[in-house]
Amino acid sequence: MNDPFRQDPALLRGMTQRRLGRRDAFRLAGLSAAGLALAACGVQGKGKARPTSSAQVQSEVEKYWSGKAKNGHVDFANWPLYMDPKKPELKEFTKRTGITVTYKEVIQETAGWYAKIQPQLAAGQSIDYDLMVFTNSVQLTQLIKLGYLVPLDHDRLPNFTKNVGARYTQEAFDPGNVYTVPWASGMTGIAYNPKYIDTPPTSYSALWDPKYKGKVGMMADSQEIANFAMFALGIDPDKSTPADWEKAAAKLTEQRDSGIVRKYYDQSYIDPLAKGDIWICQAWSGDIFQKNLSDGTDLKFVIPQEGATIWTDNFMIPKTAANPVDAITLIDFFYEPAIAGSLAEYINYVTPVPSAKDAILADAAKASGADKKTLQMIADSPLVFPSDDDYAKLRTYVTFANSEDHKKFESIFQPITTS
């Protein structure tokens, strides 16, 4: 899994910047009174039962979509550096359908974005976007539960139905893709700086190794640290119980108190890793890949033998969207293999469209020299197209049944990072 990253820095293919702030450097956003407005003075609960039968889903879909028409425009909110700045895919879309797209990189952080849009959605106001890309998370589960997302009409998603990888139709956070379809996925694994570490780590126990005392970086995100401790203990995070969480927390506390952990990072772990402030850390696959490409570093990323977690950023349409038909047309457009391939060539995250590989290989056949090599490498990369064996090692995050569970989970893991 390491070889794909040995890169000629000249082959930047426009990737001169890495994606800063996917889970954002500072959670500065959102501490606004907006978040409070909802909670002020005894607000009614907004919880809504998820449709249980497919007939019920179908009726909700019909209720929403009947009478909706194409308006010729779509406002699209996404994370920074998640598309080629020249936007070739969107240009192609406008050329073919006549629908214009306003693309804004406004989503910097899961919790911050949620805090921003939640009061507006609660009040039934437009959030100014018809389409957004959001990570599977407690916040996503809440958006679904609170009824803020449009049930997707699969009849309007023929490319999706035809081309999506089978595993993406049964995600624990939205089985059957009632409200969401994937944009891209990434893995959380171990990254290390080979300048300081000679033997590649193969197991999570490396992060508990006293010989790296003070040079280990962990993430501040409760789910991420919990997952790692559970993997180290041989527990499947997605099937874990509160008793497992306690065990994981004890393992993490021991790691912290023995001085092994230097710091709990948000996405800001990449620079310290490159500079040698930390030698080994938790990392998101695409970050390491892009850092190597953009700065010519030689950082390594491994999926440990115990397995790893995969997260997914998903398309979704907020219920107050003004142009839902245009939005769903755009969603489906990204499931054309050629378009999915073109996107993956740039962002280097896992694409939910397996046949995009052929599209990339076809591009490679047409290209020459350095470009050809890069494209070939992307098509072969297990971080863009994981094999079945790779997928078998991947687990999803803990999905909480309710906010009580989530609160309990946070109360167990947050004291570790906020000590």
């Binding site: 409070l36 909670a39 109360s411 990072t417």
Partner: protein
């Protein structure tokens, strides 16, 4: 008529600012106070239940972070007085007609974003960076030595980020000292040290007092420095509150912690004002 207008003028003057404060300060405070006494969750809604547990739980779970924040705030404030007083003194008495240039130079770094300045410390103080790298190479520092991810880094960052708010009030107080008072002290055979101790220092205290107020409060509730420069066991209460709001979405606990912090700071400030004798201080300041 003109008498009525004269009577109304002060109210007209206070109206815009008062309205601003009422909308953006008083109302949120009331909402937050109410929130801190509610129980529930985002999905099930919140109800006002006089749930004092949020306060008790907040204190029980996070007293370490509260105490640490107060200590860090105090340490940073002291550091700022030690660093800032000589600077203010020098500009006030030795600045000549370039005083405004020096003040501008001191403020110059603060035209750059607060967050950006703090992040630049990461670069400056990195374990093998431009500062520590050479010192380690020549053997002055052991290999494992680090500044980042230590309490020292957090306190130093706090002191740095709020320094102008300490220097400016002290400068204003010092600048106002009438040179004739100093001459009088010398005429009365005071040594330079005695002049400083018995004339300059007491006259500068209102500035120090204002500086402490303006730096201790924001430093204690800051969360950027701890998250950028800190490591494990350096979390401040600001980080906890921010986490409770955005990550856990436990709004009642977050609000309760905010009010606890505010109460502690108010008590601290009043005690401090008392100890220093506010009346005297204000009197001097008004002169």
């Amino acid at each position: 008529m003109s008498r009525l207008r004269a009577a109304l003028t002060p109210y007209a003057l206070i109206f815009p600012g008062g309205l601003w404060l009422a909308i953006f300060f008083v109302i949120p405070m009331i909402v937050m106070l109410s929130l801190s006494l509610q129980s529930g969750s985002v999905e099930d809604g919140y109800a006002f239940t006089f749930n004092w547990h949020s306060y008790a739980d907040g204190l029980a779970n996070y007293h370490d972070q509260i105490i640490r924040s107060l200590l860090y705030g105090l340490a940073a404030t002291l550091l700022q007085i030690i660093l800032g007083f000589p600077v203010a003194y020098w500009i006030a008495f030795k600045g000549g007609n370039r005083k405004s240039v020096y003040l501008f130079l001191m403020l110059l770094p603060f035209l750059v974003s607060f967050v950006l300045r703090t992040i630049s410390w990461q670069f400056l103080l990195s374990d093998n960076g431009i500062l520590l790298g050479p010192l380690k190479d020549i053997g002055l520092l052991p290999d494992g030595f680090r500044v980042l991810a230590t309490p020292f880094a957090v306190i130093a960052g706090l002191a740095y980020n709020f320094l102008p708010f300490m220097v400016l009030p002290m400068y204003v107080a010092l600048e106002r000292i009438d040179p004739r008072v100093l001459e009088a002290a010398q005429d009365l055979y005071a040594s330079r040290f005695q002049t400083f101790l018995r004339v300059v220092l007491p006259l500068s205290l209102p500035g120090v007092f204002a500086g402490v107020l303006m730096t201790f409060v924001p430093a204690t509730s800051d969360y950027v420095n701890a998250s950028v420069l800190g490591g494990t066991n350096t979390t401040m209460i600001g980080n906890v509150i921010q986490n409770q709001y955005l990550v856990t979405q436990d709004y009642p606990t977050a609000s309760a912690l905010s009010f606890t912090l505010m109460a502690l700071l108010l008590v601290g400030i009043f005690a401090y004002a008392r100890a220093l004798g506010t009346e005297d201080v204000l009197e001097v300041a008004a002169r």
